[in-house]
Each structure stands twice: as structure tokens, then as C-alpha cells.
């Protein structure tokens, strides 16, 4: 920290020498400002919101916030909120009297609200953390429109094909080798023959099946086409999009009969109770396997979704990036920024990991040497991809992803034969959106 300050003041001095007295004065106010910020933070109260996570979430928040208090002398008042409610009422909460800092999501969700002036600009904080952050994480946290970061990246997780090694062995296949489409179809077919679900999917919440669509589209048409499609530069009625849904339709006969009845937790339970061959999901649920038993956790495995088009291989992955944002309307913005920076700093990460956080941090300081086999495999799955998507509802605008694409995928699963009409509707609704 002190070194950072030195750099700053040295820079301002040089600037001052070059431009003259006025700039020098500005430079000194700048450093006085940051010193002010430090004293302002000390003894102040910072409010923190944990987004879901139950008892573990609270324990992690307490560990990190206590370490922050010890370091800065600022008091932290933390609360945990229901993740979905917080997300749904986000704009209202941010316009009211929000907590100063909170866990949030990168991509459209932070960029949009940052551009609308609801999230604080964290350029200075991300600058402090720069040496520890990979360029991709910084890029992923920065709005392509305003070129400012509104989130400090902390964790991410891969969306991959999850299955249980013991079940794959049971049907006479090699669990290490679910690599191509044929292996995948064979796995589903043989599991189904045993009276189980070949490919489990939930769509009750409207977003779960987006994961399957994302990866199919990226595998068949590539990352660029997918991102273009979500941002209106490619058409939903394009033959390439239809091709993706052709593959999607091939999966439907392998699915559970109650896709519309279950959400992600139902999918998790199907795998936990050994009732499904494979499922496409974010690895965040692995903690629940561990909570059930070590044996269940050791049996869990994840691989990249199999290759379909050799042109693209397995070069793309959904790996939503999470981080810490600061409310622009908070009562203690400097405190919020300091707390956010601490959460994303090596010290904060160490405190979180010690308190039982099993997430993968993007920070280079994050030590993975003590990782178990499953977590190492998660890293391998991430490393296999060179293009990172953030998941459909973070890569596309909010008034399109939830109200239009989600129900379209639900309708498709219900009536796959109607796909042409469904895609025409999606395209028409995209065309009717106001420019942004």
C-alpha cells in the first residue's frame, strides 16, 4: 500500500514539474484525498450484503469483514439476502439506501447499472489490484461502453458436463474419456437403458436450460457467433441457430420427464441420488455433495462439454465471473470501496478460503496447490477453453434474456417441432427492442 502511495505522489510530482503549479496543487489534493479516505474509513461503519450462501456464506463474510476491521479499524455491518430477490429488485435497492459493498456479477449486470450511475467506478481500486489479476479478468470487469470497471473480480466457476464416475464405470465406460459427442450420446443411451435419466435438465426457473443452449451454440457455431447472436449482430432465424436447436432436440428424448417441474436444485438432487447419467451445470453445487458425504464428493466429476464442430473444439466455456461492487448511492462510498478492494485482495481471499470458501479465485495470489482432485479438474476444464462466456443472462441485455429467451427455450423443450415459429418470435422481439 505505502509503495503504491509513493508511486502516486512521485507521479504527481513529475506531472507537477511538467505542467506547472496548478497541476502540482491538484496532485497534492489527490494524495491528500486518499489520505483523507483512509482516515475516513477508520472508525466509520461500512455496510455489506452477502448474496445467499446460507451459513457458509455468513461464515465467509464474517471472516473477511473481521480481517478488514482488524486492518483498517472500520466497523462492518453485514446482512445476508436472498440472492434472487436481491437480483430482481437490484435497480430499486440501488436507488434507495443500499449497503455500501456487496457480492455481484460481472457482465451486462454490472456494466449496465454502472453506466446508469448506480454502481461506483472502481478504476482506482482495480489499479491497486492489477498485479494480481489476469488481463482477461480485468477486461471482463470493464464495461465496453464506458471503459470503466464497476466490479472487482473475485471468483468464477466453470459450467461443465457433470457426472458420477461410479455410474459411468457401471455402464462399462471410461469416466476419464467422455470427450466427444459419440461418447456423450453413448453415456446417455446406456444410462437410460438402465431405467435412469440420460440427461437431466430443469427449466422451472427459466434460466437453467440457457446453459445447455449456450454451450451447444458455442460448440456448433463458435464463440463469436454466439456473442453476436446475443447482441443482435446475428439472427435467431439464421440456419446456424436452427442447427443448434437441432442438436438440442436430440437431447430431449434423454431428459427427465419433469423438466418444467424442477430447477437447478432438482437437477443436483438427480445426480446426488444417482438417477441421471449427466448434466450441464455450474460447478457451484459441488459443496452440497461434500456436505452429504466425502464419498459422494469423490465420485463427482466434470469435463468440458464434448466437441461437436472440430473447427471450434472445446474452445469456449460458460464461466460466470463474480466479484464485489460498490453502490454509488451508499452512505459510505470510500468505506465501501476499501472493503471491496480488501475482499478482492490476497489478504481477503486468504481469509475467505480459511473460512471454507471453495470457489476458484481469479487472483494470481490464489494458491491452488492444496486443491483436491475435483477442484483441480475444474481448473483443467477452465484451462481447456480460450473463450469465456458469462452465461446467457449476463451476456445479453436484461429485457431480452429473461423475458424473451428464457420462455422461448421453455417453449422449445415443450414443443420442439415449433422451433421455427419460436425463433421467428424471438427475432421479432429483439427487433422491437429500443436501441441502447
Amino acid at each position: 500500500m505505502s509503495e503504491e502511495k509513493n508511486v502516486l505522489s512521485r507521479r504527481s510530482v513529475i506531472k507537477g514539474a511538467a505542467v506547472g503549479g496548478a497541476a502540482l496543487a491538484a496532485g497534492s489534493t489527490l494524495s491528500a484525498g486518499s489520505a483523507d479516505a483512509a482516515t475516513k474509513v477508520k472508525g466509520s461503519t461500512v455496510k455489506w450484503t452477502t448474496r445467499g450462501g446460507g451459513a457458509t456464506g455468513d461464515a465467509i463474510a464474517k471472516a473477511v469483514n473481521d480481517a478488514f476491521t482488524k486492518k483498517t479499524g472500520a466497523k462492518v455491518v453485514a446482512q445476508q439476502v436472498n440472492s434472487d430477490d436481491f437480483q430482481n429488485n437490484f435497480a430499486q435497492i440501488m436507488q434507495g439506501s443500499p449497503d455500501d459493498a456487496f457480492g455481484w456479477m460481472a457482465g451486462y449486470r454490472s456494466n449496465h447499472f454502472g453506466e446508469m450511475g448506480l454502481l461506483a467506478d472502481l478504476t482506482r481500486e482495480i489499479g491497486h489490484l492489477k498485479t494480481n489479476l489476469p488481463a482477461a479478468a480485468i477486461k471482463g470487469s470493464t464495461s465496453p461502453v464506458s471503459k470503466k470497471p464497476y466490479i472487482l473480480p473475485t471468483t468464477y466457476y466453470p459450467w461443465g458436463l457433470h457426472y458420477r464416475k461410479s455410474m459411468v464405470k457401471d455402464i462399462g465406460m471410461n469416466p476419464e474419456k467422455i470427450g466427444n459427442w459419440d461418447d456423450f450420446v453413448k453415456l446417455m443411451t446406456l444410462t437410460q437403458k438402465k431405467g435412469l435419466v440420460g440427461y437431466s435438465l430443469g427449466a422451472k426457473g427459466g434460466w437453467e436450460a440457457m446453459g445447455t443452449f449456450d454451450i451447444l451454440n458455442a460448440r456448433i457455431n463458435g464463440y463469436k457467433y454466439h456473442i453476436d447472436l446475443l447482441n443482435g449482430r446475428a439472427k435467431w432465424t439464421d440456419a446456424r441457430t436452427k442447427e443448434t436447436f437441432k442438436y438440442f432436440a436430440q437431447l430431449i428424448p434423454f431428459m427427465n420427464a419433469n423438466v418444467m417441474d424442477i430447477s437447478w436444485d432438482g437437477m443436483r438432487d438427480l445426480l446426488l441420488q444417482k438417477k441421471t447419467g449427466a448434466m450441464m451445470m455450474g460447478s457451484w453445487f459441488a459443496n452440497d455433495f461434500k456436505a452429504k458425504s466425502q464419498a459422494d464428493y469423490d465420485d463427482l466429476w466434470v469435463v468440458p462439454f464434448p466437441e461437436i464442430n472440430p473447427k471450434f473444439g472445446v474452445d469456449t466455456i460458460d464461466a460466470p465471473l463474480d466479484g464485489i461492487s460498490v453502490a454509488a448511492n451508499g452512505k459510505n462510498i470510500s468505506g465501501g470501496k476499501a472493503l471491496a478492494e480488501f475482499w478482492a485482495s490476497p489478504e481477503g481471499i486468504a481469509a475467505a478460503v480459511k473460512a471454507g470458501d471453495t470457489n476458484i479465485y481469479v487472483s494470481k495470489s490464489f494458491d491452488t496447490s492444496g486443491y483436491d482432485a475435483f477442484n483441480k479438474q475444474k481448473l483443467a476444464v477452465l484451462a481447456a477453453a480460450s473463450n469465456i462466456m458469462f452465461f446467457l443472462d449476463r451476456d445479453a441485455r436484461g429485457d431480452f434474456a429473461g423475458p424473451v429467451v428464457g420462455p422461448a427455450i421453455q417453449n422449445f423443450i415443450k414443443n420442439p417441432a415449433d422451433i421455427n415459429k419460436i425463433l421467428e418470435n424471438v427475432q421479432a422481439q429483439w427487433d422491437a427492442l429500443p436501441k441502447q
Binding site: R109, A203, G205, N258, D399, G406, P407
Partner: protein, 303 residues
């Protein structure tokens, strides 16, 4: 002519003392003011917003959209027609089955059939629960891995699809909604029946009228004010249905209802003024039949 006009005016004035006027102003003025501020102003703003594009955050971002939102809903969105259908079935089901059942129960209980107090409390019990709580209860029982599925020996892998099955979910949801609606109507009607003069019924019975004739020719007409309330309540309850389904599904699109679409497009991450347009459509659907019905009923009364 002149005097004829002035006399009632004088009479009016005489009957309103200073305190009277103050009371009237307070009791009519304040509610009217609140009504205008809390209901009519937002309603008018919603109508205006339904002709715009806006993400609900900064006022300066509001853009004029003309009828684009309505065009989009009417021509490009299959969800709207699914919702219209679901609300329509809901309304028909309530009018044809649930509401008449409530009336029938009230009539039977009022006649003092054996154990009527027991039936009365049983049917009334669901009414004290909010539809959100009812949603939680039934979801807990019927969802995959739920209590009833467990009793049938079905786990999450082979659970019967209920909420996601378009062949039955409508009827299950309407059954649950009726579970509460029947009791509500019963109670309303019962309170009306208590005020019907028993002498009327006795007289009709002495004249040789059957039970059905008494109900149709004596009770139904004397109950006209309650009937109006019940018809209006049935209409509103069916068209504004929201909480039960939202609690069960957690998302607005597997069993779409107009109110769910208002919510999805007017709040949260999916906000756009399409939500306002949905709200205006819903408002029209509620107001037009209700006003028409009320006008007809009051005209009959005047005759």
C-alpha cells in the same frame, strides 16, 4: 321555476352545519386525495409509460415508442396469448364452478343442515390463509420430492410432472385457487342470507313453492346487492391472479398469467415498458366488463 330550484338548495344548506361540512370535507376529501395520489396518478403515469421505451432508472432515458410495445405484445409474443387463455379459463372456472359451489354451500349451511357449523369452519379455513401461503403449502406437497409424491413412492427421478405438465397443471392450480375462493364466496353469501327475512321463505313454502323455486324466485332477487359484489369479486380475483402461481413456479413463464407478465416486464432485471403495456391491457380487461355489468345491474334496480 326559480323557487323550485332555490328551495332544495336552501334545504341542503340548512342541513349542513359548519361541523358537518368539516366532517364531510375530512371524510371525503382526504380519501379522495389519497386515492388520486396513490392510485390515479400512478395509473395515468403507467398509461403514458406504456407508450415509451424506458429501463426504469433515469428519467432522461425515457424514449417515445408510440404503439410499439402493444404491437410487440399482440403480434410477436406467444406468452400473451397463453396468459390470456389461462386467465380466461380461470375466469370461466370460477364463474361456472367455484362461485356457484360457494353459493350452494352457503344456502345449505343457512338452511341449518346437520353439522353446518362444522362444515362452515372447514370451508372457511383456507380463506384465512393468503394465496402465497397456500402456494407454499401445495408446492411442498406436490412438487417432485414433495410430500404427496413421497407418499406415492415417487422420488425426484420418477416424480409425476404436475406443475410442468400442461395437461393437468391448469386444473390443479384452479382446484387450489377454488379451495380458497369457494369458502370466501360462501362466507359473503352466508352473511347476505342471514339478512333475508325468513317470513318470505315461509310464505313461499306455504304457497307450495319447491326449494329450487324459493331459491330462484325469492332468495336470488332479494340478494341482488350481494350478487353484484360476488360477480365483481369473481371477475377481479380471476383476472388479477398472481401470487399463488408465482410462489409455485418462482418464474412467470411456465404458467403465464397477465399479472405475471406485468411483473416480469415491469420490475427486476427484465424491466421495459412492455410491462406497462401489459398493465394497461389488464386494466382494460378488468374495467370494461365490471363497468358494463354494474351499469346493467343498476339500471335494472332503477326500473
Amino acid at each position: 321555476m326559480k323557487t323550485a330550484v332555490t328551495i332544495p338548495k336552501n334545504r341542503n344548506r340548512r342541513s349542513l352545519s359548519k361541523t358537518d361540512r368539516l366532517t364531510l370535507t375530512t371524510f371525503i376529501g382526504i380519501p379522495t386525495l389519497l386515492q388520486i395520489i396513490l392510485l390515479w396518478v400512478p395509473a395515468v403515469v403507467t398509461i403514458i409509460l406504456s407508450f415509451t421505451y424506458w429501463n426504469g432508472i433515469r428519467l432522461k432515458d425515457v424514449q417515445w415508442a408510440g404503439i410499439q410495445n402493444y404491437k410487440n405484445i399482440l403480434f410477436n409474443n406467444p406468452l400473451f396469448y397463453q396468459a390470456l387463455k389461462n386467465n380466461g379459463i380461470w375466469l370461466l372456472f370460477f364463474i361456472v364452478i367455484a362461485t356457484p359451489l360457494g353459493i350452494l354451500l352457503a344456502y345449505q349451511i343457512d338452511r341449518g343442515i346437520k353439522g353446518h357449523a362444522f362444515y362452515e369452519s372447514i370451508y372457511y379455513l383456507p380463506v384465512v390463509l393468503s394465496l402465497a401461503v397456500i402456494g407454499i403449502i401445495w408446492n411442498f406437497m406436490l412438487q417432485p420430492g414433495g410430500f404427496v409424491q413421497g407418499l406415492m413412492g415417487r422420488d425426484i427421478g420418477n416424480a409425476i410432472s404436475i406443475w410442468g405438465n400442461p395437461k393437468i397443471n391448469t386444473w390443479v392450480i384452479l382446484g387450489i385457487a377454488s379451495w380458497r375462493h369457494i369458502g370466501y364466496i360462501m362466507l359473503l353469501y352466508l352473511s347476505g342470507l342471514k339478512s333475508v327475512d325468513p317470513a318470505l321463505k315461509e310464505a313461499a313454502a306455504i304457497d307450495g313453492a319447491t326449494d329450487w323455486q324459493i331459491f330462484r324466485k325469492i332468495i336470488l332477487p332479494t340478494m341482488q346487492p350481494v350478487n353484484i359484489i360476488i360477480v365483481v369479486i369473481t371477475l377481479i380475483e380471476s383476472l388479477r391472479a398472481f401470487d399463488l402461481v408465482y410462489i409455485i413456479y418462482g418464474s412467470p413463464t411456465i404458467f403465464p398469467l397477465l399479472n405475471l407478465l406485468v411483473f416480469q416486464n415491469f420490475a427486476g432485471q427484465g424491466i421495459s415498458m412492455k410491462g406497462a403495456a401489459y398493465a394497461v391491457i389488464l386494466l382494460l380487461l378488468c374495467i370494461v366488463p365490471i363497468i358494463t355489468y354494474l351499469r346493467i345491474s343498476f339500471k335494472e334496480d332503477l326500473k
